[in-house]
Protein backbone atom coordinates (compact mmCIF):
# COMPACT_ATOMS: atom_id res chain seq x y z
CA UNK A 1 0.00 0.00 0.00
CA UNK A 2 2.48 2.55 -1.11
CA UNK A 3 -0.39 4.79 -2.24
CA UNK A 4 -0.69 6.18 1.24
CA UNK A 5 2.47 8.14 1.91
CA UNK A 6 1.53 9.83 5.14
CA UNK A 7 0.24 7.86 8.08
CA UNK A 8 -3.46 8.28 8.59
CA UNK A 9 -5.09 6.72 11.60
CA UNK A 10 -7.10 3.78 10.41
CA UNK A 11 -9.14 1.62 12.76
CA UNK A 12 -8.92 -1.30 10.33
CA UNK A 13 -5.15 -1.37 10.57
CA UNK A 14 -5.48 -1.35 14.36
CA UNK A 15 -7.90 -4.26 14.35
CA UNK A 16 -5.75 -6.27 11.99
CA UNK A 17 -2.40 -5.51 13.56
CA UNK A 18 -2.90 -5.00 17.29
CA UNK A 19 -4.35 -8.35 18.47
CA UNK A 20 -1.56 -10.50 17.00
CA UNK A 21 1.03 -7.97 18.13
CA UNK A 22 -0.35 -7.93 21.67
CA UNK A 23 -0.33 -11.74 21.71
CA UNK A 24 3.37 -11.86 20.91
CA UNK A 25 4.20 -8.97 23.23
CA UNK A 26 2.31 -10.53 26.11
CA UNK A 27 3.91 -13.95 25.90
CA UNK A 28 7.45 -12.99 24.92
CA UNK A 29 8.38 -9.31 25.22
CA UNK A 30 6.68 -8.86 28.58
CA UNK A 31 8.55 -11.89 30.03
CA UNK A 32 11.72 -10.51 28.51
CA UNK A 33 11.33 -7.24 30.40
CA UNK A 34 10.26 -9.12 33.50
CA UNK A 35 13.40 -11.23 33.25
CA UNK A 36 15.62 -8.16 33.29
CA UNK A 37 13.77 -6.89 36.36
CA UNK A 38 14.00 -10.27 38.09
CA UNK A 39 17.72 -10.47 37.48
CA UNK A 40 18.20 -7.58 39.93
CA UNK A 41 16.24 -9.28 42.70
CA UNK A 42 16.46 -12.31 44.92
CA UNK A 43 13.20 -13.30 43.27
CA UNK A 44 10.70 -15.40 45.20
CA UNK A 45 7.90 -17.17 43.41
CA UNK A 46 6.12 -18.50 46.50
CA UNK A 47 3.10 -17.08 48.29
CA UNK A 48 3.66 -14.09 50.59
CA UNK A 49 7.40 -14.12 50.08
CA UNK A 50 9.08 -10.81 49.41
CA UNK A 51 11.77 -10.38 46.83
CA UNK A 52 14.72 -8.32 47.95
CA UNK A 53 16.50 -5.92 45.64
CA UNK A 54 20.08 -6.98 45.05
CA UNK A 55 21.09 -4.84 42.07
CA UNK A 56 24.07 -6.57 40.46
CA UNK A 57 24.61 -9.31 43.04
CA UNK A 58 23.03 -12.01 40.86
CA UNK A 59 25.31 -11.11 37.99
CA UNK A 60 28.35 -11.23 40.24
CA UNK A 61 27.26 -14.62 41.58
CA UNK A 62 26.84 -15.96 38.05
CA UNK A 63 30.14 -14.59 36.83
CA UNK A 64 31.96 -15.99 39.86
CA UNK A 65 30.23 -19.35 39.73
CA UNK A 66 32.64 -22.01 38.40
CA UNK A 67 29.76 -24.15 37.09
CA UNK A 68 28.22 -21.27 35.16
CA UNK A 69 31.67 -20.83 33.65
CA UNK A 70 31.80 -24.52 32.71
CA UNK A 71 28.30 -24.31 31.22
CA UNK A 72 29.15 -21.27 29.11
CA UNK A 73 32.45 -22.85 28.04
CA UNK A 74 30.71 -26.10 27.07
CA UNK A 75 28.12 -24.19 25.04
CA UNK A 76 30.77 -22.16 23.23
CA UNK A 77 32.81 -25.30 22.49
CA UNK A 78 29.67 -27.05 21.28
CA UNK A 79 28.91 -24.13 18.95
CA UNK A 80 32.51 -23.79 17.75
CA UNK A 81 32.72 -27.48 16.86
CA UNK A 82 29.24 -28.33 15.58
CA UNK A 83 28.55 -25.21 13.49
CA UNK A 84 31.51 -25.44 11.07
CA UNK A 85 31.43 -29.24 10.79
CA UNK A 86 27.71 -29.28 10.06
CA UNK A 87 28.16 -26.60 7.42
CA UNK A 88 31.10 -28.34 5.74
CA UNK A 89 29.45 -31.77 5.64
CA UNK A 90 26.04 -30.32 4.74
CA UNK A 91 27.49 -28.21 1.94
CA UNK A 92 29.54 -31.15 0.69
CA UNK A 93 26.46 -33.38 0.61
CA UNK A 94 24.53 -30.62 -1.17
CA UNK A 95 27.25 -30.33 -3.83
CA UNK A 96 27.24 -34.10 -4.30
CA UNK A 97 23.45 -34.24 -4.63
CA UNK A 98 23.49 -31.24 -6.94
CA UNK A 99 25.91 -33.13 -9.21
CA UNK A 100 23.78 -36.25 -9.72
CA UNK A 101 20.74 -36.78 -11.87
CA UNK A 102 18.89 -39.72 -10.40
CA UNK A 103 17.86 -40.47 -6.83
CA UNK A 104 18.57 -36.91 -5.72
CA UNK A 105 15.11 -36.71 -4.14
CA UNK A 106 15.62 -40.03 -2.33
CA UNK A 107 18.95 -38.92 -0.91
CA UNK A 108 17.41 -35.66 0.24
CA UNK A 109 14.65 -37.61 1.90
CA UNK A 110 17.06 -39.90 3.74
CA UNK A 111 19.44 -37.15 4.84
CA UNK A 112 16.56 -35.13 6.20
CA UNK A 113 15.24 -38.02 8.30
CA UNK A 114 17.33 -37.27 11.42
CA UNK A 115 16.20 -33.63 11.23
CA UNK A 116 12.53 -34.49 11.62
CA UNK A 117 13.08 -37.07 14.33
CA UNK A 118 12.52 -35.87 17.84
CA UNK A 119 15.54 -34.84 19.94
CA UNK A 120 14.36 -37.02 22.81
CA UNK A 121 14.28 -40.09 20.59
CA UNK A 122 17.67 -39.66 18.95
CA UNK A 123 19.31 -38.60 22.22
CA UNK A 124 18.06 -41.79 23.89
CA UNK A 125 19.38 -43.76 20.94
CA UNK A 126 22.81 -42.15 21.27
CA UNK A 127 22.77 -42.76 24.99
CA UNK A 128 22.28 -46.46 24.28
CA UNK A 129 24.99 -46.55 21.62
CA UNK A 130 27.45 -44.65 23.84
CA UNK A 131 26.68 -46.58 27.02
CA UNK A 132 29.47 -48.56 28.70
CA UNK A 133 28.42 -51.85 27.17
CA UNK A 134 26.95 -50.28 24.07
CA UNK A 135 27.57 -50.63 20.40
CA UNK A 136 30.36 -48.09 20.13
CA UNK A 137 32.45 -49.64 22.90
CA UNK A 138 31.87 -53.05 21.36
CA UNK A 139 33.36 -51.80 18.09
CA UNK A 140 36.28 -50.09 19.77
CA UNK A 141 37.14 -52.86 22.22
CA UNK A 142 36.19 -56.13 20.54
CA UNK A 143 36.36 -55.44 16.83
CA UNK A 144 39.00 -52.78 16.37
CA UNK A 145 40.78 -53.78 19.61
CA UNK A 146 41.90 -50.22 20.27
CA UNK A 147 41.65 -50.51 24.04
CA UNK A 148 41.12 -53.42 26.37
CA UNK A 149 38.59 -51.74 28.66
CA UNK A 150 35.33 -50.08 27.63
CA UNK A 151 35.40 -46.29 27.63
CA UNK A 152 32.93 -44.53 29.93
CA UNK A 153 31.82 -42.12 27.22
CA UNK A 154 29.08 -40.43 29.18
CA UNK A 155 30.89 -40.28 32.52
CA UNK A 156 33.50 -37.65 31.84
CA UNK A 157 33.23 -34.12 30.57
CA UNK A 158 34.84 -34.08 27.15
CA UNK A 159 33.87 -37.54 25.98
CA UNK A 160 30.25 -36.86 26.93
CA UNK A 161 30.37 -33.55 25.10
CA UNK A 162 31.90 -35.40 22.17
CA UNK A 163 28.86 -37.69 22.11
CA UNK A 164 26.52 -34.68 22.32
CA UNK A 165 28.36 -32.88 19.54
CA UNK A 166 28.33 -35.96 17.33
CA UNK A 167 24.59 -36.19 17.89
CA UNK A 168 24.13 -32.51 17.05
CA UNK A 169 26.17 -32.82 13.86
CA UNK A 170 24.45 -36.03 12.79
CA UNK A 171 21.02 -34.50 13.32
CA UNK A 172 21.90 -31.18 11.71
CA UNK A 173 23.54 -32.25 8.44
CA UNK A 174 20.24 -32.78 6.62
CA UNK A 175 18.99 -29.28 7.39
CA UNK A 176 22.20 -27.72 6.12
CA UNK A 177 22.10 -29.91 3.04
CA UNK A 178 18.56 -28.87 2.12
CA UNK A 179 19.22 -25.17 2.55
CA UNK A 180 22.51 -25.27 0.66
CA UNK A 181 21.02 -27.37 -2.12
CA UNK A 182 18.35 -24.73 -2.69
CA UNK A 183 21.05 -22.07 -2.74
CA UNK A 184 23.15 -24.07 -5.22
CA UNK A 185 20.18 -24.44 -7.53
CA UNK A 186 19.80 -20.66 -7.54
CA UNK A 187 23.36 -20.00 -8.73
CA UNK A 188 23.21 -18.83 -12.36
CA UNK A 189 24.46 -21.58 -14.69
CA UNK A 190 26.01 -19.13 -17.15
CA UNK A 191 28.73 -18.36 -14.63
CA UNK A 192 29.80 -22.01 -14.52
CA UNK A 193 29.78 -22.27 -18.27
CA UNK A 194 31.84 -19.12 -18.62
CA UNK A 195 34.32 -20.48 -16.09
CA UNK A 196 34.57 -23.84 -17.87
CA UNK A 197 35.35 -22.06 -21.11
CA UNK A 198 38.06 -20.13 -19.30
CA UNK A 199 39.46 -23.45 -18.17
CA UNK A 200 38.61 -23.33 -14.46
CA UNK A 201 38.71 -26.73 -12.76
CA UNK A 202 36.19 -28.11 -10.29
CA UNK A 203 37.67 -26.66 -7.11
CA UNK A 204 38.31 -23.28 -8.74
CA UNK A 205 34.69 -23.17 -9.83
CA UNK A 206 33.59 -24.06 -6.30
CA UNK A 207 35.68 -21.42 -4.56
CA UNK A 208 35.27 -18.64 -7.10
CA UNK A 209 31.69 -19.10 -8.22
CA UNK A 210 29.72 -21.28 -5.82
CA UNK A 211 30.95 -19.88 -2.50
CA UNK A 212 30.56 -16.17 -3.36
CA UNK A 213 27.10 -16.86 -4.73
CA UNK A 214 25.84 -18.58 -1.59
CA UNK A 215 27.34 -16.07 0.83
CA UNK A 216 23.95 -14.77 1.94
CA UNK A 217 22.70 -18.29 2.65
CA UNK A 218 25.92 -19.07 4.48
CA UNK A 219 25.40 -16.19 6.90
CA UNK A 220 21.78 -17.17 7.44
CA UNK A 221 22.84 -20.74 8.18
CA UNK A 222 25.63 -19.70 10.55
CA UNK A 223 23.26 -17.41 12.45
CA UNK A 224 20.60 -20.10 12.78
CA UNK A 225 23.11 -22.73 13.82
CA UNK A 226 24.74 -20.54 16.46
CA UNK A 227 21.33 -19.78 17.92
CA UNK A 228 20.56 -23.49 17.71
CA UNK A 229 23.76 -24.33 19.58
CA UNK A 230 22.77 -22.02 22.42
CA UNK A 231 19.36 -23.68 22.32
CA UNK A 232 20.83 -27.08 23.20
CA UNK A 233 18.86 -28.49 26.07
CA UNK A 234 17.28 -31.86 25.32
CA UNK A 235 20.39 -33.79 24.14
CA UNK A 236 22.35 -32.92 27.26
CA UNK A 237 19.41 -33.59 29.58
CA UNK A 238 18.87 -37.01 28.08
CA UNK A 239 22.52 -37.99 27.57
CA UNK A 240 24.04 -36.92 30.88
CA UNK A 241 21.63 -34.62 32.72
CA UNK A 242 24.70 -32.44 33.36
CA UNK A 243 26.52 -35.17 35.26
CA UNK A 244 29.13 -35.97 36.43
CA UNK A 245 29.13 -33.16 39.02
CA UNK A 246 27.69 -30.58 36.57
CA UNK A 247 30.73 -30.98 34.31
CA UNK A 248 28.62 -31.40 31.17
CA UNK A 249 26.06 -28.67 31.81
CA UNK A 250 25.28 -26.27 28.99
CA UNK A 251 23.73 -22.89 29.65
CA UNK A 252 20.12 -24.00 29.30
CA UNK A 253 20.43 -27.15 31.40
CA UNK A 254 22.20 -25.16 34.10
CA UNK A 255 19.53 -22.48 33.98
CA UNK A 256 16.84 -25.16 34.20
CA UNK A 257 18.55 -26.69 37.21
CA UNK A 258 18.86 -23.32 38.94
CA UNK A 259 15.21 -22.53 38.22
CA UNK A 260 13.47 -25.75 39.16
CA UNK A 261 15.87 -27.60 41.46
CA UNK A 262 17.76 -24.88 43.28
CA UNK A 263 14.90 -22.32 42.95
CA UNK A 264 17.33 -19.47 42.36
CA UNK A 265 15.06 -17.45 40.09
CA UNK A 266 17.20 -14.32 40.25
CA UNK A 267 20.31 -16.30 39.42
CA UNK A 268 18.79 -17.90 36.33
CA UNK A 269 17.32 -14.60 35.18
CA UNK A 270 20.78 -13.04 35.39
CA UNK A 271 22.24 -16.01 33.51
CA UNK A 272 19.56 -15.55 30.81
CA UNK A 273 20.45 -11.92 30.41
CA UNK A 274 24.14 -12.82 30.08
CA UNK A 275 23.34 -15.45 27.43
CA UNK A 276 21.14 -12.97 25.58
CA UNK A 277 24.01 -10.48 25.54
CA UNK A 278 26.45 -13.12 24.24
CA UNK A 279 24.05 -14.14 21.44
CA UNK A 280 23.37 -10.53 20.55
CA UNK A 281 27.07 -9.78 20.25
CA UNK A 282 27.64 -12.83 18.04
CA UNK A 283 24.71 -12.01 15.75
CA UNK A 284 25.76 -8.36 15.50
CA UNK A 285 29.21 -9.52 14.37
CA UNK A 286 27.62 -11.85 11.82
CA UNK A 287 25.31 -9.13 10.54
CA UNK A 288 28.19 -6.68 10.21
CA UNK A 289 29.79 -9.23 7.85
CA UNK A 290 26.59 -9.27 5.91
CA UNK A 291 26.34 -5.53 5.50
CA UNK A 292 30.02 -5.39 4.50
CA UNK A 293 29.31 -7.93 1.78
CA UNK A 294 26.39 -5.85 0.62
CA UNK A 295 28.61 -2.78 0.39
CA UNK A 296 31.21 -4.70 -1.59
CA UNK A 297 28.62 -5.76 -4.09
CA UNK A 298 27.60 -2.23 -4.86
Amino acid sequence: MKIRRKFVFDWRVCILFLPPLLFVLFFTIYPMIKMIVMSFFDWKIGYMQTSTFLFLDNYITVLKDPIAKIAIQNTLVYAAVTVPIQIIIGLFAAVLIHGIKRFSVSFRLVYYLPVISSWVVVALLFRYIFSNFGLLNYFIVDILKLTSRPIGWLSSRWSALFAAMLLGIWKGIGWNMVIFLAALQAVPKEQYEAASIDGANKSQRFFHITLPNIRGTMLFVITMLVIGAFNTYTPITVLTNGNPAHQTEVVLTWMYFQTFEALNMGYSAALSVIIAIIIMVITLILFSFRSRNRRLER
Binding site: F17, G99, I279
Partner: protein, 292 residues
Protein backbone atom coordinates in the same frame (compact mmCIF):
# COMPACT_ATOMS: atom_id res chain seq x y z
CA UNK B 1 28.52 -27.22 -24.62
CA UNK B 2 30.80 -29.38 -22.51
CA UNK B 3 28.02 -30.53 -20.24
CA UNK B 4 25.86 -31.66 -23.15
CA UNK B 5 28.57 -33.99 -24.37
CA UNK B 6 29.11 -35.42 -20.91
CA UNK B 7 25.50 -36.30 -20.21
CA UNK B 8 24.49 -38.14 -23.32
CA UNK B 9 21.22 -39.83 -22.32
CA UNK B 10 21.68 -42.83 -24.61
CA UNK B 11 24.21 -44.67 -22.53
CA UNK B 12 22.65 -46.21 -19.45
CA UNK B 13 25.95 -46.21 -17.59
CA UNK B 14 26.50 -42.53 -17.98
CA UNK B 15 24.59 -41.61 -14.84
CA UNK B 16 26.68 -44.17 -13.13
CA UNK B 17 29.75 -43.11 -15.09
CA UNK B 18 33.10 -42.02 -13.77
CA UNK B 19 32.01 -38.44 -13.08
CA UNK B 20 29.18 -39.30 -10.80
CA UNK B 21 30.10 -42.72 -9.44
CA UNK B 22 32.13 -41.04 -6.70
CA UNK B 23 29.12 -38.87 -5.85
CA UNK B 24 26.89 -41.88 -5.54
CA UNK B 25 29.39 -43.83 -3.46
CA UNK B 26 29.87 -40.99 -0.98
CA UNK B 27 26.16 -40.28 -0.83
CA UNK B 28 25.30 -43.90 -0.15
CA UNK B 29 27.91 -43.95 2.60
CA UNK B 30 26.36 -40.82 4.11
CA UNK B 31 22.87 -42.25 3.79
CA UNK B 32 23.98 -45.32 5.73
CA UNK B 33 25.32 -43.10 8.51
CA UNK B 34 21.95 -41.32 8.59
CA UNK B 35 19.83 -44.45 8.61
CA UNK B 36 21.80 -47.13 10.47
CA UNK B 37 21.34 -45.67 13.98
CA UNK B 38 17.60 -45.51 13.34
CA UNK B 39 17.59 -49.09 12.11
CA UNK B 40 19.49 -50.14 15.20
CA UNK B 41 16.79 -48.54 17.31
CA UNK B 42 14.03 -50.35 15.44
CA UNK B 43 15.89 -53.69 15.64
CA UNK B 44 16.48 -53.23 19.36
CA UNK B 45 12.79 -52.54 19.89
CA UNK B 46 12.05 -56.05 18.56
CA UNK B 47 14.52 -57.74 20.88
CA UNK B 48 13.37 -59.07 24.17
CA UNK B 49 13.93 -56.38 26.79
CA UNK B 50 16.44 -58.48 28.76
CA UNK B 51 18.46 -59.11 25.61
CA UNK B 52 19.10 -55.43 25.03
CA UNK B 53 21.71 -55.55 27.83
CA UNK B 54 23.67 -58.41 26.33
CA UNK B 55 27.33 -57.92 25.66
CA UNK B 56 28.45 -58.20 22.93
CA UNK B 57 25.35 -56.44 21.57
CA UNK B 58 23.25 -58.52 19.20
CA UNK B 59 23.09 -56.61 15.94
CA UNK B 60 20.83 -58.99 14.07
CA UNK B 61 18.60 -61.15 16.26
CA UNK B 62 17.62 -64.58 14.96
CA UNK B 63 14.17 -64.81 13.45
CA UNK B 64 12.78 -66.77 16.38
CA UNK B 65 14.15 -64.14 18.80
CA UNK B 66 12.12 -61.36 17.26
CA UNK B 67 9.32 -60.40 19.60
CA UNK B 68 6.66 -57.76 19.86
CA UNK B 69 6.49 -58.11 23.64
CA UNK B 70 8.01 -54.63 24.11
CA UNK B 71 5.26 -53.06 22.05
CA UNK B 72 2.65 -55.00 23.95
CA UNK B 73 4.18 -53.81 27.22
CA UNK B 74 4.08 -50.17 26.12
CA UNK B 75 0.51 -50.34 24.87
CA UNK B 76 -0.67 -52.17 28.00
CA UNK B 77 1.24 -50.27 30.65
CA UNK B 78 1.42 -46.71 29.42
CA UNK B 79 -1.25 -44.35 28.14
CA UNK B 80 0.57 -44.15 24.83
CA UNK B 81 -2.41 -43.13 22.71
CA UNK B 82 -3.36 -40.57 25.29
CA UNK B 83 0.12 -39.01 25.01
CA UNK B 84 -0.09 -39.14 21.24
CA UNK B 85 -3.50 -37.50 21.33
CA UNK B 86 -2.21 -34.77 23.64
CA UNK B 87 0.74 -34.12 21.35
CA UNK B 88 -1.46 -34.00 18.26
CA UNK B 89 -3.86 -31.60 19.98
CA UNK B 90 -1.01 -29.32 21.04
CA UNK B 91 0.47 -29.49 17.54
CA UNK B 92 -2.76 -28.64 15.75
CA UNK B 93 -3.60 -25.77 18.07
CA UNK B 94 -0.07 -24.40 17.87
CA UNK B 95 -0.21 -24.48 14.08
CA UNK B 96 -3.62 -22.82 14.02
CA UNK B 97 -2.74 -19.98 16.40
CA UNK B 98 0.75 -19.36 15.08
CA UNK B 99 -0.39 -19.27 11.45
CA UNK B 100 -3.18 -16.80 12.18
CA UNK B 101 -0.93 -14.56 14.25
CA UNK B 102 2.08 -14.80 11.96
CA UNK B 103 0.18 -14.26 8.72
CA UNK B 104 -1.55 -11.15 10.08
CA UNK B 105 1.75 -9.79 11.37
CA UNK B 106 3.60 -10.66 8.16
CA UNK B 107 0.96 -8.94 6.05
CA UNK B 108 1.04 -5.88 8.26
CA UNK B 109 4.83 -5.69 8.23
CA UNK B 110 5.04 -6.28 4.50
CA UNK B 111 2.35 -3.92 3.30
CA UNK B 112 0.66 -1.66 5.84
CA UNK B 113 1.70 1.81 6.91
CA UNK B 114 2.26 1.59 10.64
CA UNK B 115 4.25 4.09 12.65
CA UNK B 116 7.42 2.58 14.14
CA UNK B 117 6.98 -0.55 12.04
CA UNK B 118 10.69 -1.18 11.67
CA UNK B 119 11.33 -0.96 15.39
CA UNK B 120 8.44 -3.29 16.24
CA UNK B 121 9.60 -5.74 13.60
CA UNK B 122 13.13 -5.59 14.98
CA UNK B 123 11.78 -6.38 18.45
CA UNK B 124 9.87 -9.39 17.21
CA UNK B 125 12.82 -10.67 15.20
CA UNK B 126 15.10 -10.27 18.20
CA UNK B 127 12.96 -12.82 20.07
CA UNK B 128 13.99 -15.29 17.39
CA UNK B 129 17.59 -14.92 18.48
CA UNK B 130 16.85 -15.98 22.04
CA UNK B 131 16.59 -19.67 22.82
CA UNK B 132 13.01 -20.47 23.80
CA UNK B 133 13.99 -21.68 27.24
CA UNK B 134 16.00 -18.53 28.01
CA UNK B 135 12.80 -16.85 29.17
CA UNK B 136 11.69 -19.82 31.21
CA UNK B 137 11.72 -18.07 34.61
CA UNK B 138 9.37 -15.18 33.82
CA UNK B 139 7.32 -17.28 31.44
CA UNK B 140 6.81 -19.93 34.08
CA UNK B 141 5.67 -17.27 36.52
CA UNK B 142 3.30 -15.89 33.90
CA UNK B 143 1.93 -19.37 33.23
CA UNK B 144 1.45 -19.90 36.95
CA UNK B 145 -0.40 -16.62 37.29
CA UNK B 146 -2.66 -17.48 34.35
CA UNK B 147 -3.36 -20.88 35.99
CA UNK B 148 -1.89 -22.65 33.00
CA UNK B 149 0.30 -25.11 34.90
CA UNK B 150 -0.84 -28.67 34.24
CA UNK B 151 -2.89 -27.42 31.35
CA UNK B 152 -2.28 -28.19 27.70
CA UNK B 153 -3.09 -24.57 26.86
CA UNK B 154 -0.09 -23.53 28.92
CA UNK B 155 2.00 -25.36 26.37
CA UNK B 156 -0.01 -24.33 23.30
CA UNK B 157 -0.07 -20.58 23.96
CA UNK B 158 3.63 -20.34 24.74
CA UNK B 159 4.68 -22.57 21.84
CA UNK B 160 2.61 -20.41 19.51
CA UNK B 161 4.30 -17.30 20.80
CA UNK B 162 7.76 -18.91 20.48
CA UNK B 163 7.34 -20.03 16.88
CA UNK B 164 5.59 -16.87 15.70
CA UNK B 165 8.71 -14.71 15.13
CA UNK B 166 10.36 -17.18 12.76
CA UNK B 167 7.06 -17.85 10.98
CA UNK B 168 6.51 -14.10 10.60
CA UNK B 169 10.03 -13.71 9.25
CA UNK B 170 9.57 -16.42 6.61
CA UNK B 171 6.07 -15.30 5.63
CA UNK B 172 6.99 -11.67 5.36
CA UNK B 173 9.84 -12.55 3.02
CA UNK B 174 7.53 -14.71 0.96
CA UNK B 175 4.85 -12.02 0.69
CA UNK B 176 7.36 -9.35 -0.31
CA UNK B 177 9.04 -11.54 -2.92
CA UNK B 178 6.16 -13.43 -4.45
CA UNK B 179 2.95 -11.42 -4.18
CA UNK B 180 2.83 -8.32 -6.40
CA UNK B 181 1.46 -5.17 -4.74
CA UNK B 182 -0.69 -4.57 -7.83
CA UNK B 183 -2.96 -7.37 -6.65
CA UNK B 184 -3.53 -5.66 -3.29
CA UNK B 185 -4.16 -2.38 -5.03
CA UNK B 186 -6.67 -3.86 -7.42
CA UNK B 187 -8.79 -4.92 -4.46
CA UNK B 188 -8.32 -1.66 -2.60
CA UNK B 189 -9.25 0.41 -5.66
CA UNK B 190 -12.42 -1.60 -6.08
CA UNK B 191 -13.34 -0.51 -2.59
CA UNK B 192 -12.23 -3.61 -0.73
CA UNK B 193 -10.71 -3.33 2.73
CA UNK B 194 -7.38 -4.60 3.96
CA UNK B 195 -9.30 -7.55 5.42
CA UNK B 196 -10.38 -8.62 1.96
CA UNK B 197 -6.81 -8.21 0.74
CA UNK B 198 -5.68 -10.46 3.58
CA UNK B 199 -8.43 -12.99 2.95
CA UNK B 200 -8.50 -13.09 -0.84
CA UNK B 201 -4.94 -12.22 -1.87
CA UNK B 202 -2.46 -12.87 0.93
CA UNK B 203 -3.80 -16.10 2.40
CA UNK B 204 -4.33 -17.98 -0.87
CA UNK B 205 -1.19 -16.70 -2.56
CA UNK B 206 1.05 -17.35 0.43
CA UNK B 207 -0.33 -20.86 0.91
CA UNK B 208 2.90 -22.67 -0.12
CA UNK B 209 4.83 -20.78 2.56
CA UNK B 210 1.98 -21.27 5.05
CA UNK B 211 2.05 -25.01 4.38
CA UNK B 212 5.78 -25.19 4.97
CA UNK B 213 5.60 -23.17 8.18
CA UNK B 214 2.66 -25.25 9.40
CA UNK B 215 4.76 -28.38 9.03
CA UNK B 216 7.67 -26.86 10.94
CA UNK B 217 5.38 -25.70 13.73
CA UNK B 218 3.46 -28.96 13.75
CA UNK B 219 6.62 -30.91 14.50
CA UNK B 220 7.73 -28.57 17.29
CA UNK B 221 5.59 -30.16 20.07
CA UNK B 222 6.94 -33.58 19.08
CA UNK B 223 10.38 -32.19 19.78
CA UNK B 224 10.24 -29.79 22.69
CA UNK B 225 11.07 -31.08 26.16
CA UNK B 226 12.11 -28.36 28.63
CA UNK B 227 8.98 -26.24 28.72
CA UNK B 228 6.49 -29.09 28.47
CA UNK B 229 8.33 -30.88 31.29
CA UNK B 230 7.94 -27.82 33.49
CA UNK B 231 4.26 -27.27 32.68
CA UNK B 232 2.83 -30.77 32.31
CA UNK B 233 3.26 -32.52 35.65
CA UNK B 234 0.28 -34.86 35.55
CA UNK B 235 0.71 -38.10 33.71
CA UNK B 236 -2.68 -37.71 32.00
CA UNK B 237 -1.78 -34.61 30.04
CA UNK B 238 1.80 -35.30 29.06
CA UNK B 239 2.98 -34.91 25.51
CA UNK B 240 5.17 -37.60 23.96
CA UNK B 241 8.62 -36.10 24.65
CA UNK B 242 7.78 -35.70 28.34
CA UNK B 243 6.12 -39.09 28.55
CA UNK B 244 9.11 -40.83 26.96
CA UNK B 245 11.57 -39.07 29.25
CA UNK B 246 9.51 -39.88 32.33
CA UNK B 247 9.12 -43.50 31.25
CA UNK B 248 12.86 -43.76 30.75
CA UNK B 249 13.57 -42.34 34.20
CA UNK B 250 10.94 -44.52 35.84
CA UNK B 251 12.52 -47.65 34.33
CA UNK B 252 15.96 -47.21 35.89
CA UNK B 253 17.18 -45.52 32.72
CA UNK B 254 17.97 -48.94 31.29
CA UNK B 255 14.96 -50.84 29.97
CA UNK B 256 16.00 -50.22 26.41
CA UNK B 257 13.66 -52.69 24.78
CA UNK B 258 10.62 -50.91 26.21
CA UNK B 259 12.09 -47.47 25.62
CA UNK B 260 12.83 -48.15 21.97
CA UNK B 261 9.40 -49.65 21.39
CA UNK B 262 7.96 -46.42 22.73
CA UNK B 263 10.27 -44.17 20.69
CA UNK B 264 9.64 -46.18 17.53
CA UNK B 265 5.91 -45.84 18.07
CA UNK B 266 6.37 -42.12 18.65
CA UNK B 267 8.43 -41.75 15.48
CA UNK B 268 5.89 -43.56 13.34
CA UNK B 269 3.33 -40.73 12.95
CA UNK B 270 6.10 -38.19 12.39
CA UNK B 271 7.72 -40.24 9.64
CA UNK B 272 4.37 -40.91 7.94
CA UNK B 273 3.58 -37.21 8.09
CA UNK B 274 7.01 -36.49 6.62
CA UNK B 275 6.69 -38.96 3.76
CA UNK B 276 3.21 -37.71 2.88
CA UNK B 277 4.16 -34.04 2.80
CA UNK B 278 7.81 -34.30 1.80
CA UNK B 279 7.67 -31.79 -1.03
CA UNK B 280 6.41 -29.02 1.26
CA UNK B 281 9.07 -29.77 3.84
CA UNK B 282 11.85 -28.98 1.47
CA UNK B 283 10.39 -26.28 -0.77
CA UNK B 284 9.17 -24.12 2.07
CA UNK B 285 12.21 -24.50 4.25
CA UNK B 286 14.52 -23.19 1.62
CA UNK B 287 12.30 -20.45 0.24
CA UNK B 288 13.01 -18.13 3.13
CA UNK B 289 16.64 -19.01 3.40
CA UNK B 290 18.11 -18.26 0.03
CA UNK B 291 17.88 -14.53 0.16
CA UNK B 292 19.39 -14.78 3.62
Amino acid sequence: MMSKIKHSPRRWWIWFGKHTIMNYLLLVLGALVMVLPMLYMIISSFKENAKTFLYPPVLFPQVHEITISNYRYILDNTAFFRYLGNTLFVSLMTVLISIIVASLLAYAFARLAIPGKKIIYGFIISIMLLPGLALIVPQFELAARLKLINNLWGVILFYSAWVTPFSTFLLRGYIEDNIPTELDESILIDGGSIFSVYRYIILPMASPAIAAISILNFLFPFEELGWSQAILKWDQIRTLPVAITMFFQAHNRTDWGYVFAMTTLAMLPVVCFYLLLQKYFISGLSSGAIKG
